[in-house]
């Protein structure tokens, strides 16, 4: 099975990558969202919006398969995710609050370990990705000696070499300086142009041309026994 769709940016695609049907999630006896249905098309950036505690992170974790406390249906390329977990995981990249960076390892070692389970990448490409995120000269410094923003940048370097069509990015703009934010915005837009789909949560004022919005938390309903 191998499709190679690279649609024009903004061009309507008939086949959604990810579909959620009637998602409902309950946390601490409170319904975070119910009857939530949406489709993620290739070539789009979607911003998940909502106040603190409205379930943005939970939604992304549910989509990634890290949270099981939900009901409804999730489909990947038209068929249920459960039946093709491995294919889905290979095609999805998730970056969470915790960047997945080992403080004792260097950026290069961290990036190598993170890519090792996905696809073989040469050390040269890894270094280039690190340089691309402004970490030139820090490749061999243990990450615990780097600043919070630099550590986030190590995780973001993955985006420069990621071939996964679906990106789920949770608060990726945290601790990134203004130049970095601009570059990241450009990268997300470029990703959509390349045919990738991006779902992003952020409190930063992200506005991209053609960006979709998913609004959560129109008053979380109190769960009643």
């Amino acid at each position: 099975m191998r499709f190679a769709h690279r649609p024009e940016y903004g061009a309507p695609m008939s086949e959604p990558l990810l579909q959620a049907v009637n998602l409902q999630c309950e946390r601490d006896k409170r319904i975070l969202f119910r009857e939530l249905s949406f489709s993620i098309l290739p070539g789009t950036v979607t911003r998940v919006e909502g106040p603190n505690g409205s379930g943005k992170t939970t939604l992304l974790r549910i989509l990634a398969g890290l949270n099981d406390a939900w009901t409804g249906e999730l489909k990947w390329c038209g068929s249920p995710i459960d039946s093709q977990r491995e294919v889905f995981l290979r095609n999805m990249l998730y970056l969470g609050h915790r960047p997945g960076i080992k403080p004792l390892l260097t950026p290069l070692e961290n990036l190598r370990a993170l890519m090792a389970g996905r696809r073989p990448v040469s050390d040269k490409a890894l270094s280039q990705a690190l340089q691309g995120t402004g970490l030139a000269g820090f490749e061999n410094v243990p990450c615990r000696n780097l600043s919070a923003g630099q550590q986030r940048r190590v995780a973001l370097a993955r985006l420069l070499i990621a071939d996964e069509p679906l990106w789920l990015l949770d608060e990726v703009f945290t601790a990134i300086d203004s130049d970095g934010v601009k570059a990241l915005e450009a990268l997300l837009q470029q990703r959509a142009a390349e045919g990738g789909a991006v779902l992003v949560t952020t409190h930063h004022d992200l506005v991209l041309p053609g960006m979709h919005k998913l609004i959560l938390g129109a008053g979380g309903l109190l769960y009643e026994h």
Binding site: M1, R2, R90, G96, G100, D163, A186, E194
Partner: protein
Amino acid sequence: MNTEARPEARLASGSVGALAAMKAVFARDMKVAFRQRQDLLNPLLFFIMVVTLFPLGVSPEVSFLREAGAGILWVAALLSVLLSLDHLFRHDFDDGTLEQLVLQPQPLFLLILAKTLAHWMLTGLPLVLLTPVLGVMVHLDGNSIAVLCLTLLIGTPVLSLIGAIGAALTLGLRSAGVLLSLLIIPLYIPVLIFGTGTVAAAAEGAAVGAYVALMGAFLMLALTLAPFAAAAALKISLSNG
């Protein structure tokens, strides 16, 4: 950010093989451990201290030590593995690498098996290597020491594997230590009984083949079942985190 030479967004069907991914997980855990050597020494020092304190605290008599020595070493090894268990997933959980591990396309139980193997190489195996020295200290004879080493060599991986289930289950809890011990100790008891029983049988000159075979069966059982249980437990813990 420099965005030249970008990979295109396409659906991929193949990914890195499970064996290569396991190697990478194993290599990373070893590398992290050797960057933090004092953590490696803790279980070893604990092992040595418990074994050396027994003659001082109870009795330095040769007859007593010869009889109790194997048991003391086994209990000390068991406790020092237990002490190191909390580290198995805790750091990975805190820095987010565990999430990324769960999201790798390879079967999770294999990746956990690789992590557990690394844990055993860093805690169980050094204990086995130290055993001959401490065995001489508690006046065990050569044959008993050899059998003791063999039982620990088979038994400590079982301790790591069973421990991985407990460590995964208690990951989301704030005070995991006590609960982890309560969960795991009952499962360790059969291993302890057969481990010390084998050495006792050897000291009396009996054949130990059957005992060793039973311990081997424990190891096979743990190898085949524990990674699945630990993988399921990890998913539950992450789902609540």
